[in-house]
Amino acid sequence: MSVVTRPGQADLAADTQGFAILVDGLRKRYGSLVAVDGISFRVEEREIFGLLGPNGAGKTTTVEILEGLRDADEGRAFVAGIDVRKDPQKVKSLIGVQLQSSAFFDGLSLLELLDMFAALYKRTVDAMGLLKKVDLAEKAHSTVGKLSGGQKQRFSIATALVNEPQILFLDEPTTGLDPQARRNLWELANSIRAEGRTIVLTTHYMDEAETLCDRVAIMDHGKILAMEPPDSLIQRLLDKGFRGERVERSANLEDVFLDMTGHGLRES
Protein backbone atom coordinates (compact mmCIF):
# COMPACT_ATOMS: atom_id res chain seq x y z
CA MET A 1 0.00 0.00 0.00
CA SER A 2 1.47 3.24 -1.03
CA VAL A 3 0.73 5.93 1.48
CA VAL A 4 1.91 8.81 -0.62
CA THR A 5 1.63 9.42 -4.28
CA ARG A 6 4.99 10.65 -5.56
CA PRO A 7 4.89 13.17 -8.35
CA GLY A 8 7.73 13.28 -10.87
CA GLN A 9 10.73 15.52 -10.19
CA ALA A 10 9.85 18.02 -12.88
CA ASP A 11 6.37 18.96 -11.78
CA LEU A 12 7.14 18.93 -8.05
CA ALA A 13 7.83 22.64 -7.71
CA ALA A 14 4.75 23.52 -9.69
CA ASP A 15 2.84 21.14 -7.52
CA THR A 16 3.54 23.10 -4.34
CA GLN A 17 0.48 25.15 -5.20
CA GLY A 18 -2.00 24.69 -2.37
CA PHE A 19 0.47 22.89 -0.16
CA ALA A 20 2.31 24.40 2.77
CA ILE A 21 4.98 21.70 2.76
CA LEU A 22 5.97 19.22 0.14
CA VAL A 23 8.59 16.59 0.91
CA ASP A 24 9.92 14.12 -1.61
CA GLY A 25 12.37 11.28 -0.93
CA LEU A 26 14.05 13.04 1.98
CA ARG A 27 17.00 11.12 3.45
CA LYS A 28 19.47 11.97 6.22
CA ARG A 29 22.26 9.79 7.60
CA TYR A 30 24.45 10.21 10.66
CA GLY A 31 27.35 7.88 9.98
CA SER A 32 25.80 4.44 9.63
CA LEU A 33 22.50 5.52 11.20
CA VAL A 34 19.77 6.45 8.76
CA ALA A 35 17.75 9.01 10.71
CA VAL A 36 15.34 9.86 7.91
CA ASP A 37 14.89 7.14 5.32
CA GLY A 38 13.53 8.56 2.11
CA ILE A 39 10.24 9.97 3.34
CA SER A 40 7.66 11.83 1.26
CA PHE A 41 4.61 13.73 2.43
CA ARG A 42 2.55 16.85 1.94
CA VAL A 43 1.08 19.26 4.41
CA GLU A 44 -1.95 21.17 3.23
CA GLU A 45 -2.38 24.85 3.86
CA ARG A 46 -4.23 25.77 7.06
CA GLU A 47 -4.14 22.33 8.56
CA ILE A 48 -2.62 21.21 11.83
CA PHE A 49 -0.33 18.39 10.88
CA GLY A 50 0.96 16.08 13.59
CA LEU A 51 4.26 14.24 13.39
CA LEU A 52 4.15 11.37 15.88
CA GLY A 53 6.63 8.69 16.78
CA PRO A 54 8.77 7.32 19.59
CA ASN A 55 12.07 9.01 20.48
CA GLY A 56 14.65 8.43 17.78
CA ALA A 57 12.01 7.87 15.10
CA GLY A 58 13.37 10.75 13.02
CA LYS A 59 10.70 13.39 13.69
CA THR A 60 13.10 15.99 15.05
CA THR A 61 15.56 15.51 12.20
CA THR A 62 12.73 15.83 9.69
CA VAL A 63 11.44 19.01 11.29
CA GLU A 64 14.94 20.47 11.55
CA ILE A 65 15.49 19.91 7.84
CA LEU A 66 12.19 21.66 7.07
CA GLU A 67 13.18 24.56 9.37
CA GLY A 68 16.47 25.01 7.53
CA LEU A 69 18.53 24.13 10.59
CA ARG A 70 19.99 21.03 8.99
CA ASP A 71 20.64 19.93 5.43
CA ALA A 72 19.40 16.60 4.09
CA ASP A 73 21.59 14.16 2.19
CA GLU A 74 19.03 13.38 -0.49
CA GLY A 75 15.57 14.38 -1.58
CA ARG A 76 13.71 17.65 -1.85
CA ALA A 77 11.62 19.70 0.50
CA PHE A 78 9.53 22.73 -0.35
CA VAL A 79 8.38 24.86 2.54
CA ALA A 80 6.00 27.72 1.76
CA GLY A 81 6.85 27.14 -1.88
CA ILE A 82 10.61 27.56 -1.36
CA ASP A 83 13.19 24.82 -1.83
CA VAL A 84 14.60 24.70 1.70
CA ARG A 85 17.81 22.96 0.62
CA LYS A 86 18.54 25.76 -1.85
CA ASP A 87 17.41 28.79 0.13
CA PRO A 88 17.11 28.02 3.84
CA GLN A 89 17.36 31.73 4.75
CA LYS A 90 14.26 32.53 2.70
CA VAL A 91 12.37 29.67 4.33
CA LYS A 92 13.44 30.87 7.78
CA SER A 93 11.96 34.27 7.05
CA LEU A 94 8.58 32.73 6.17
CA ILE A 95 8.17 30.28 9.02
CA GLY A 96 7.92 30.49 12.80
CA VAL A 97 9.72 28.06 15.04
CA GLN A 98 9.07 27.04 18.61
CA LEU A 99 11.83 24.74 19.81
CA GLN A 100 11.61 22.16 22.54
CA SER A 101 14.19 23.70 24.84
CA SER A 102 14.41 27.23 23.69
CA ALA A 103 15.71 29.60 26.31
CA PHE A 104 16.18 33.31 25.75
CA PHE A 105 18.65 35.98 26.81
CA ASP A 106 18.28 36.46 30.54
CA GLY A 107 18.73 40.19 30.76
CA LEU A 108 15.87 41.28 28.52
CA SER A 109 12.16 41.76 29.19
CA LEU A 110 9.54 39.97 27.11
CA LEU A 111 8.84 43.16 25.16
CA GLU A 112 12.50 43.72 24.43
CA LEU A 113 12.98 40.11 23.35
CA LEU A 114 10.08 40.34 20.91
CA ASP A 115 11.51 43.57 19.49
CA MET A 116 14.88 41.86 19.11
CA PHE A 117 13.35 38.87 17.33
CA ALA A 118 11.41 41.16 15.03
CA ALA A 119 14.67 42.93 14.20
CA LEU A 120 16.21 39.59 13.25
CA TYR A 121 13.45 39.37 10.61
CA LYS A 122 14.13 42.98 9.64
CA ARG A 123 10.68 44.11 10.67
CA THR A 124 8.93 45.81 13.55
CA VAL A 125 6.25 44.24 15.62
CA ASP A 126 3.41 45.24 17.91
CA ALA A 127 5.06 43.44 20.80
CA MET A 128 2.35 44.29 23.30
CA GLY A 129 -0.38 43.09 20.96
CA LEU A 130 1.47 39.83 20.48
CA LEU A 131 1.82 39.38 24.24
CA LYS A 132 -1.92 40.03 24.65
CA LYS A 133 -2.61 37.36 22.10
CA VAL A 134 -0.68 34.77 24.09
CA ASP A 135 -2.16 36.07 27.35
CA LEU A 136 1.11 37.48 28.71
CA ALA A 137 0.41 41.22 28.64
CA GLU A 138 0.80 41.60 32.41
CA LYS A 139 4.23 39.97 32.21
CA ALA A 140 5.48 42.35 29.51
CA HIS A 141 8.26 43.78 31.65
CA SER A 142 9.34 40.53 33.33
CA THR A 143 12.19 38.36 32.14
CA VAL A 144 11.67 34.84 30.83
CA GLY A 145 13.23 33.43 33.98
CA LYS A 146 10.23 34.63 35.99
CA LEU A 147 7.66 32.78 33.86
CA SER A 148 5.96 29.47 34.64
CA GLY A 149 6.30 26.50 32.29
CA GLY A 150 3.11 27.23 30.39
CA GLN A 151 3.90 30.94 30.17
CA LYS A 152 7.34 30.12 28.78
CA GLN A 153 5.81 27.98 26.05
CA ARG A 154 3.31 30.68 25.20
CA PHE A 155 6.08 33.24 25.04
CA SER A 156 8.10 30.90 22.87
CA ILE A 157 5.13 30.76 20.50
CA ALA A 158 4.89 34.56 20.59
CA THR A 159 8.51 34.81 19.43
CA ALA A 160 7.63 32.40 16.62
CA LEU A 161 4.82 34.72 15.49
CA VAL A 162 6.80 37.99 15.19
CA ASN A 163 7.21 37.54 11.43
CA GLU A 164 3.56 36.56 10.85
CA PRO A 165 4.68 33.19 9.52
CA GLN A 166 2.73 31.15 6.99
CA ILE A 167 3.79 27.97 8.74
CA LEU A 168 4.39 27.49 12.46
CA PHE A 169 6.45 24.60 13.79
CA LEU A 170 5.66 23.52 17.35
CA ASP A 171 8.00 20.96 18.89
CA GLU A 172 6.39 19.20 21.87
CA PRO A 173 4.80 22.44 23.09
CA THR A 174 2.86 20.91 26.00
CA THR A 175 5.48 18.63 27.50
CA GLY A 176 5.63 19.20 31.25
CA LEU A 177 2.54 21.41 31.45
CA ASP A 178 -0.42 20.91 33.78
CA PRO A 179 -3.81 20.09 32.22
CA GLN A 180 -5.06 23.68 32.44
CA ALA A 181 -1.99 25.06 30.66
CA ARG A 182 -2.22 22.28 28.10
CA ARG A 183 -5.82 23.06 27.20
CA ASN A 184 -4.93 26.75 27.07
CA LEU A 185 -2.17 26.01 24.58
CA TRP A 186 -4.52 23.97 22.44
CA GLU A 187 -6.87 26.93 22.26
CA LEU A 188 -3.94 29.11 21.23
CA ALA A 189 -2.95 26.66 18.49
CA ASN A 190 -6.52 26.59 17.17
CA SER A 191 -6.76 30.38 17.15
CA ILE A 192 -3.46 30.60 15.23
CA ARG A 193 -4.76 28.14 12.68
CA ALA A 194 -7.96 30.19 12.43
CA GLU A 195 -5.78 33.10 11.26
CA GLY A 196 -4.95 31.03 8.21
CA ARG A 197 -1.60 29.65 9.30
CA THR A 198 -0.45 26.08 8.93
CA ILE A 199 0.87 24.29 12.02
CA VAL A 200 3.27 21.36 12.10
CA LEU A 201 3.23 19.79 15.54
CA THR A 202 5.32 17.05 17.11
CA THR A 203 4.05 15.49 20.29
CA HIS A 204 4.18 12.39 22.45
CA TYR A 205 0.60 12.91 23.67
CA MET A 206 -1.86 10.96 21.56
CA ASP A 207 -4.86 12.76 23.05
CA GLU A 208 -3.27 16.03 21.97
CA ALA A 209 -2.80 14.77 18.41
CA GLU A 210 -6.33 13.41 18.39
CA THR A 211 -7.83 16.69 19.55
CA LEU A 212 -5.72 19.13 17.54
CA CYS A 213 -4.51 17.49 14.35
CA ASP A 214 -6.36 17.30 11.08
CA ARG A 215 -3.92 14.65 9.93
CA VAL A 216 -1.05 12.83 11.58
CA ALA A 217 1.97 11.00 10.24
CA ILE A 218 3.29 8.18 12.40
CA MET A 219 7.05 7.74 12.04
CA ASP A 220 9.42 5.04 13.17
CA HIS A 221 12.97 4.10 12.15
CA GLY A 222 13.12 7.04 9.78
CA LYS A 223 10.06 5.96 7.78
CA ILE A 224 6.45 7.10 7.72
CA LEU A 225 4.22 4.18 8.69
CA ALA A 226 0.87 5.85 8.19
CA MET A 227 -0.54 9.27 7.36
CA GLU A 228 -4.22 9.98 7.78
CA PRO A 229 -6.70 11.88 9.95
CA PRO A 230 -6.65 10.48 13.52
CA ASP A 231 -10.23 9.24 13.27
CA SER A 232 -9.64 7.12 10.18
CA LEU A 233 -6.48 5.63 11.72
CA ILE A 234 -8.52 4.62 14.77
CA GLN A 235 -11.32 3.26 12.60
CA ARG A 236 -8.80 1.21 10.60
CA LEU A 237 -7.51 -0.37 13.80
CA LEU A 238 -11.02 -1.13 15.02
CA ASP A 239 -11.86 -2.64 11.63
CA LYS A 240 -8.97 -5.09 12.13
CA GLY A 241 -10.87 -6.38 15.16
CA PHE A 242 -8.88 -4.49 17.80
CA ARG A 243 -10.67 -3.93 21.11
CA GLY A 244 -9.17 -1.74 23.82
CA GLU A 245 -8.76 -3.16 27.31
CA ARG A 246 -10.90 -0.46 28.81
CA VAL A 247 -14.44 0.14 27.85
CA GLU A 248 -14.56 3.43 26.03
CA ARG A 249 -16.25 6.12 28.05
CA SER A 250 -17.16 9.57 26.95
CA ALA A 251 -15.06 11.17 29.69
CA ASN A 252 -11.58 10.46 31.06
CA LEU A 253 -9.68 11.26 34.23
CA GLU A 254 -8.44 14.54 32.79
CA ASP A 255 -12.02 15.68 32.29
CA VAL A 256 -12.68 14.82 35.94
CA PHE A 257 -9.57 16.72 37.01
CA LEU A 258 -10.55 19.79 35.03
CA ASP A 259 -14.13 19.55 36.23
CA MET A 260 -12.95 19.66 39.83
CA THR A 261 -10.11 22.18 39.54
CA GLY A 262 -11.52 24.36 36.81
CA HIS A 263 -10.21 25.45 33.43
CA GLY A 264 -8.62 28.62 34.76
CA LEU A 265 -4.87 28.96 34.32
CA ARG A 266 -2.76 28.41 37.44
CA GLU A 267 0.16 30.68 36.92
CA SER A 268 1.96 33.61 38.40
Binding site: E67, G68, L69, Q89, K90, K92, S93, V97, L99, Q100, S101, S102, A103, F104, F105, D106, G107, L108, E112, L113, D115, M116, F117, A119, L120, Y121, K122, T159
Partner: protein
Protein backbone atom coordinates in the same frame (compact mmCIF):
# COMPACT_ATOMS: atom_id res chain seq x y z
CA UNK B 1 19.52 46.14 16.92
CA UNK B 2 20.92 42.74 17.83
CA UNK B 3 24.03 44.51 19.09
CA UNK B 4 21.97 46.87 21.18
CA UNK B 5 19.92 44.01 22.65
CA UNK B 6 23.03 42.05 23.41
CA UNK B 7 24.62 45.08 25.10
CA UNK B 8 21.50 45.65 27.18
CA UNK B 9 21.29 42.00 28.18
CA UNK B 10 24.96 41.90 29.03
CA UNK B 11 25.08 45.01 31.15
CA UNK B 12 21.94 44.08 33.05
CA UNK B 13 23.82 41.09 34.31
CA UNK B 14 25.28 43.21 37.07
CA UNK B 15 26.87 40.27 38.84
CA UNK B 16 29.05 39.46 35.86
CA UNK B 17 30.07 43.08 35.36
CA UNK B 18 30.87 43.43 39.02
CA UNK B 19 33.08 40.36 39.10
CA UNK B 20 34.82 41.16 35.86
CA UNK B 21 36.01 44.35 37.56
CA UNK B 22 36.28 43.07 41.12
CA UNK B 23 38.88 40.38 40.57
CA UNK B 24 41.49 42.55 38.86
CA UNK B 25 40.80 45.32 41.38
CA UNK B 26 41.29 42.91 44.25
CA UNK B 27 44.55 41.63 42.87
CA UNK B 28 45.66 45.19 42.28
CA UNK B 29 44.72 46.08 45.86
CA UNK B 30 46.56 43.17 47.38
CA UNK B 31 49.71 43.50 45.32
CA UNK B 32 49.56 47.28 45.46
CA UNK B 33 49.50 47.23 49.25
CA UNK B 34 52.29 44.70 49.55
CA UNK B 35 54.10 46.94 47.13
CA UNK B 36 56.90 44.64 46.14
CA UNK B 37 60.16 46.14 45.04
CA UNK B 38 59.22 49.65 46.00
CA UNK B 39 60.70 49.67 49.50
CA UNK B 40 64.35 50.78 49.46
CA UNK B 41 66.51 47.81 50.30
CA UNK B 42 68.03 48.32 53.70
CA UNK B 43 70.75 46.40 55.46
CA UNK B 44 70.86 45.79 59.17
CA UNK B 45 74.25 46.52 60.66
CA UNK B 46 74.98 45.82 64.27
CA UNK B 47 77.81 47.73 65.95
CA UNK B 48 79.50 46.53 69.11
CA UNK B 49 81.17 49.62 70.46
CA UNK B 50 83.92 48.61 72.84
CA UNK B 51 85.75 51.92 72.64
CA UNK B 52 83.13 54.53 73.44
CA UNK B 53 85.49 57.28 72.34
CA UNK B 54 85.36 60.12 69.89
CA UNK B 55 86.40 57.98 66.95
CA UNK B 56 83.81 55.24 67.50
CA UNK B 57 81.18 57.89 68.09
CA UNK B 58 81.98 59.50 64.75
CA UNK B 59 81.76 56.19 62.94
CA UNK B 60 78.40 55.51 64.49
CA UNK B 61 76.95 58.87 63.63
CA UNK B 62 78.11 58.73 60.02
CA UNK B 63 76.71 55.23 59.63
CA UNK B 64 73.45 56.55 60.95
CA UNK B 65 73.48 59.12 58.15
CA UNK B 66 73.21 56.44 55.51
CA UNK B 67 69.64 55.90 54.43
CA UNK B 68 70.09 52.31 53.41
CA UNK B 69 71.51 51.30 56.77
CA UNK B 70 69.52 50.38 59.80
CA UNK B 71 71.91 50.72 62.66
CA UNK B 72 71.72 48.68 65.82
CA UNK B 73 74.11 48.77 68.76
CA UNK B 74 74.56 46.27 71.53
CA UNK B 75 76.86 43.83 73.26
CA UNK B 76 78.95 41.35 71.28
CA UNK B 77 76.91 38.38 72.43
CA UNK B 78 73.62 40.14 71.91
CA UNK B 79 74.45 41.28 68.36
CA UNK B 80 75.93 37.90 67.37
CA UNK B 81 72.72 36.32 68.54
CA UNK B 82 70.72 38.72 66.38
CA UNK B 83 73.01 37.86 63.46
CA UNK B 84 72.29 34.18 63.93
CA UNK B 85 68.57 34.94 64.04
CA UNK B 86 68.91 36.65 60.68
CA UNK B 87 68.06 40.07 62.09
CA UNK B 88 71.49 41.49 61.21
CA UNK B 89 73.32 41.30 57.94
CA UNK B 90 76.60 42.30 59.47
CA UNK B 91 77.95 42.87 62.97
CA UNK B 92 81.09 44.96 63.31
CA UNK B 93 83.14 45.17 66.47
CA UNK B 94 84.87 48.48 67.18
CA UNK B 95 87.67 47.50 69.55
CA UNK B 96 88.71 49.67 72.50
CA UNK B 97 91.97 50.43 70.70
CA UNK B 98 90.24 52.26 67.86
CA UNK B 99 91.76 55.60 66.95
CA UNK B 100 95.17 54.57 68.27
CA UNK B 101 97.35 53.48 65.41
CA UNK B 102 96.41 50.73 63.03
CA UNK B 103 93.29 48.98 64.15
CA UNK B 104 91.52 45.92 62.80
CA UNK B 105 87.76 46.07 62.81
CA UNK B 106 86.25 42.60 62.93
CA UNK B 107 83.03 42.09 61.08
CA UNK B 108 80.77 39.05 61.23
CA UNK B 109 78.34 38.60 58.44
CA UNK B 110 75.32 36.47 57.74
CA UNK B 111 76.14 33.81 55.15
CA UNK B 112 72.49 32.95 54.81
CA UNK B 113 71.69 36.22 53.08
CA UNK B 114 74.71 36.90 50.88
CA UNK B 115 73.07 39.72 48.92
CA UNK B 116 72.45 41.89 51.91
CA UNK B 117 75.67 41.02 53.70
CA UNK B 118 77.68 41.90 50.59
CA UNK B 119 76.01 45.29 50.55
CA UNK B 120 76.75 45.68 54.26
CA UNK B 121 80.37 44.68 53.79
CA UNK B 122 80.80 47.13 50.92
CA UNK B 123 79.34 49.92 53.04
CA UNK B 124 81.61 49.08 55.95
CA UNK B 125 84.66 48.86 53.68
CA UNK B 126 83.94 52.23 52.20
CA UNK B 127 83.63 53.60 55.70
CA UNK B 128 86.80 52.12 56.95
CA UNK B 129 88.66 53.50 53.93
CA UNK B 130 87.25 56.94 54.35
CA UNK B 131 87.99 56.90 58.07
CA UNK B 132 91.53 55.72 57.42
CA UNK B 133 92.16 58.56 54.97
CA UNK B 134 90.78 61.03 57.46
CA UNK B 135 92.90 59.77 60.28
CA UNK B 136 96.00 59.72 58.17
CA UNK B 137 95.26 63.21 56.87
CA UNK B 138 95.44 62.10 53.23
CA UNK B 139 93.07 63.55 50.70
CA UNK B 140 91.80 60.77 48.42
CA UNK B 141 93.29 60.64 44.92
CA UNK B 142 89.91 59.99 43.41
CA UNK B 143 86.60 61.36 44.49
CA UNK B 144 83.15 60.57 43.28
CA UNK B 145 81.05 63.56 42.45
CA UNK B 146 77.39 62.60 42.39
CA UNK B 147 74.73 64.72 40.76
CA UNK B 148 71.02 64.02 41.12
CA UNK B 149 68.97 63.61 37.97
CA UNK B 150 65.23 64.14 38.03
CA UNK B 151 63.62 60.87 37.08
CA UNK B 152 60.07 59.66 37.23
CA UNK B 153 59.80 57.65 40.35
CA UNK B 154 58.57 54.32 39.02
CA UNK B 155 56.99 52.09 41.58
CA UNK B 156 55.75 48.54 41.54
CA UNK B 157 52.23 49.86 40.95
CA UNK B 158 53.45 51.37 37.70
CA UNK B 159 54.50 47.91 36.63
CA UNK B 160 51.43 46.23 38.01
CA UNK B 161 48.58 48.36 36.62
CA UNK B 162 49.26 47.73 32.91
CA UNK B 163 49.72 44.06 33.78
CA UNK B 164 46.37 43.97 35.54
CA UNK B 165 44.71 45.63 32.57
CA UNK B 166 46.19 42.96 30.31
CA UNK B 167 45.04 40.25 32.70
CA UNK B 168 41.47 41.51 32.85
CA UNK B 169 41.36 41.76 29.06
CA UNK B 170 42.33 38.11 28.86
CA UNK B 171 39.85 37.02 31.52
CA UNK B 172 36.95 38.89 29.93
CA UNK B 173 37.80 37.50 26.53
CA UNK B 174 38.31 33.91 27.57
CA UNK B 175 35.90 33.29 30.41
CA UNK B 176 33.19 35.76 29.44
CA UNK B 177 32.87 34.09 26.07
CA UNK B 178 33.49 30.48 27.04
CA UNK B 179 30.85 30.28 29.74
CA UNK B 180 28.12 32.25 27.98
CA UNK B 181 28.52 30.45 24.69
CA UNK B 182 28.62 26.98 26.16
CA UNK B 183 25.54 27.88 28.19
CA UNK B 184 23.77 29.33 25.18
CA UNK B 185 24.52 26.20 23.26
CA UNK B 186 23.29 23.94 26.03
CA UNK B 187 20.13 25.92 26.69
CA UNK B 188 19.24 26.09 23.01
CA UNK B 189 19.54 29.86 22.73
CA UNK B 190 21.88 29.59 19.76
CA UNK B 191 19.57 27.12 18.02
CA UNK B 192 16.62 29.45 18.48
CA UNK B 193 18.59 32.30 16.93
CA UNK B 194 19.69 30.06 14.07
CA UNK B 195 16.03 29.33 13.34
CA UNK B 196 15.59 32.99 12.39
CA UNK B 197 17.03 34.48 9.21
CA UNK B 198 19.72 36.17 11.36
CA UNK B 199 23.00 36.47 9.56
CA UNK B 200 25.90 34.78 11.32
CA UNK B 201 28.18 37.76 10.87
CA UNK B 202 25.61 40.06 12.50
CA UNK B 203 25.54 37.76 15.48
CA UNK B 204 29.31 37.67 15.91
CA UNK B 205 29.52 41.39 15.34
CA UNK B 206 27.04 41.99 18.17
CA UNK B 207 29.00 39.74 20.49
CA UNK B 208 32.28 41.36 19.53
CA UNK B 209 30.95 44.84 20.20
CA UNK B 210 29.49 43.77 23.54
CA UNK B 211 32.71 42.21 24.81
CA UNK B 212 35.03 44.87 23.50
CA UNK B 213 32.88 47.56 25.10
CA UNK B 214 33.36 45.71 28.36
CA UNK B 215 37.10 45.56 27.75
CA UNK B 216 37.24 49.30 27.11
CA UNK B 217 35.24 49.93 30.26
CA UNK B 218 37.57 47.73 32.27
CA UNK B 219 40.61 49.56 30.98
CA UNK B 220 39.18 52.91 32.00
CA UNK B 221 38.06 51.76 35.45
CA UNK B 222 41.31 49.97 36.27
CA UNK B 223 43.27 52.96 35.08
CA UNK B 224 41.18 55.32 37.18
CA UNK B 225 41.56 53.18 40.29
CA UNK B 226 45.29 52.91 39.64
CA UNK B 227 45.58 56.67 39.26
CA UNK B 228 43.52 57.74 42.24
CA UNK B 229 44.07 54.96 44.75
CA UNK B 230 47.54 53.68 44.02
CA UNK B 231 49.24 56.77 42.60
CA UNK B 232 49.88 55.11 39.29
CA UNK B 233 52.07 57.27 37.04
CA UNK B 234 50.33 57.28 33.69
CA UNK B 235 52.48 58.89 31.03
CA UNK B 236 50.78 57.57 27.94
CA UNK B 237 47.91 58.10 25.59
CA UNK B 238 44.57 56.65 26.67
CA UNK B 239 43.48 56.17 23.08
CA UNK B 240 46.54 54.03 22.29
CA UNK B 241 45.89 52.04 25.44
CA UNK B 242 42.31 51.38 24.34
CA UNK B 243 43.37 50.46 20.82
CA UNK B 244 45.90 47.91 22.02
CA UNK B 245 43.48 46.63 24.66
CA UNK B 246 40.68 46.14 22.18
CA UNK B 247 42.81 44.42 19.54
CA UNK B 248 44.37 42.29 22.26
CA UNK B 249 40.89 41.55 23.56
CA UNK B 250 40.07 40.18 20.11
CA UNK B 251 42.76 37.50 20.52
CA UNK B 252 41.21 36.18 23.70
CA UNK B 253 37.65 36.48 22.40
CA UNK B 254 38.56 34.31 19.44
CA UNK B 255 40.36 31.88 21.74
CA UNK B 256 37.26 31.77 23.93
CA UNK B 257 35.09 31.01 20.90
CA UNK B 258 37.48 28.26 19.85
CA UNK B 259 37.33 26.71 23.34
CA UNK B 260 33.55 26.97 23.61
CA UNK B 261 33.30 25.48 20.15
CA UNK B 262 35.48 22.54 21.03
CA UNK B 263 33.78 21.74 24.32
CA UNK B 264 30.38 20.22 24.89
CA UNK B 265 29.70 21.39 28.43
CA UNK B 266 30.87 23.83 31.03
CA UNK B 267 32.59 20.95 32.79
CA UNK B 268 34.98 20.51 29.89
CA UNK B 269 35.18 24.16 28.90
CA UNK B 270 36.30 25.44 32.30
CA UNK B 271 39.42 23.26 32.62
CA UNK B 272 40.46 24.02 29.05
CA UNK B 273 40.04 27.76 29.63
CA UNK B 274 42.06 27.50 32.82
CA UNK B 275 44.72 25.44 31.09
CA UNK B 276 45.17 28.30 28.65
CA UNK B 277 44.83 31.22 31.05
CA UNK B 278 46.86 30.09 34.09
CA UNK B 279 50.22 29.57 32.35
CA UNK B 280 49.70 32.78 30.40
CA UNK B 281 48.91 34.64 33.61
CA UNK B 282 52.12 33.61 35.36
CA UNK B 283 54.48 33.50 32.40
CA UNK B 284 53.68 36.73 30.67
CA UNK B 285 55.11 39.29 33.06
CA UNK B 286 51.82 40.29 34.64
CA UNK B 287 52.80 40.36 38.31
CA UNK B 288 56.57 40.23 38.02
CA UNK B 289 59.04 41.14 35.37
CA UNK B 290 59.99 38.29 33.08
CA UNK B 291 63.63 39.27 33.59
CA UNK B 292 63.54 37.23 36.80
CA UNK B 293 62.92 34.08 34.81
CA UNK B 294 65.63 31.72 33.62
CA UNK B 295 66.76 32.73 30.16
CA UNK B 296 65.32 29.73 28.34
CA UNK B 297 61.93 30.51 29.83
CA UNK B 298 62.21 34.16 28.85
CA UNK B 299 63.00 33.03 25.33
CA UNK B 300 59.75 31.07 25.19
CA UNK B 301 57.46 33.43 27.07
CA UNK B 302 58.36 36.44 24.97
CA UNK B 303 56.08 34.94 22.31
CA UNK B 304 53.06 34.59 24.61
CA UNK B 305 50.07 36.63 23.43
CA UNK B 306 49.63 38.07 26.90
CA UNK B 307 53.30 39.13 26.96
CA UNK B 308 52.78 41.11 23.78
CA UNK B 309 49.66 42.74 25.16
CA UNK B 310 51.05 43.53 28.62
CA UNK B 311 54.39 44.74 27.24
CA UNK B 312 52.61 47.00 24.78
CA UNK B 313 50.29 48.38 27.46
CA UNK B 314 53.25 48.94 29.76
CA UNK B 315 55.28 50.73 27.11
CA UNK B 316 52.33 53.00 26.42
CA UNK B 317 51.38 53.76 30.00
CA UNK B 318 54.84 54.03 31.55
CA UNK B 319 57.02 55.05 28.65
CA UNK B 320 54.44 57.10 26.78
CA UNK B 321 55.23 55.04 23.70
CA UNK B 322 53.51 55.69 20.40
CA UNK B 323 51.89 52.90 18.41
CA UNK B 324 54.84 53.01 16.02
CA UNK B 325 57.27 52.51 18.90
CA UNK B 326 55.54 49.31 19.94
CA UNK B 327 55.16 47.94 16.42
CA UNK B 328 57.02 44.76 17.35
CA UNK B 329 54.47 43.99 20.05
CA UNK B 330 51.64 44.95 17.74
CA UNK B 331 52.96 42.57 15.10
CA UNK B 332 52.94 39.79 17.71
CA UNK B 333 49.41 40.74 18.69
CA UNK B 334 48.19 40.60 15.10
CA UNK B 335 49.88 37.26 14.44
CA UNK B 336 48.15 35.83 17.51
CA UNK B 337 44.86 37.41 16.47
CA UNK B 338 45.12 35.66 13.10
CA UNK B 339 45.95 32.32 14.76
CA UNK B 340 43.06 32.65 17.21
CA UNK B 341 40.55 33.63 14.52
CA UNK B 342 41.54 30.65 12.38
CA UNK B 343 41.18 28.35 15.40
CA UNK B 344 37.80 29.86 16.24
CA UNK B 345 36.39 29.42 12.74
CA UNK B 346 37.66 25.85 12.62
CA UNK B 347 36.44 24.81 16.05
CA UNK B 348 33.28 26.80 16.68
CA UNK B 349 30.07 24.82 16.41
CA UNK B 350 26.53 26.08 16.84
CA UNK B 351 25.21 23.02 18.50
CA UNK B 352 26.05 20.44 21.09
CA UNK B 353 26.71 17.49 18.82
Amino acid sequence: MLTWSSLKAYFRNRGAIFFSLLVPLMIMGIFGLINFGNSTPSVNIGIVDQAHNQVSGRILSSLQGIKAVKLHTGSLDGEKHELQQGNRDLVAVLPASIGQGSTAITAYYNQGNPQNSQVAIAIMNQFVDRASFAFAGISPALTLDTKPVQSRNLTYVDFLVPGMIALSIMQTGLFGVVFTFVQWKQRGILRRLMATPMRVRDFFFSQLVTRLTTVALQIVVLLAVGLFLFHFHFAGNLLYLLIVGIIGGGIFLAMGLAISGASKSEETAAPIANLVSLPLMFLSGIFFSRSNMPEWLQAITQYSPLTYVSDALRSISIGGASLWAIRADLLGIFVWLAIAVVLATRLFKWEVV
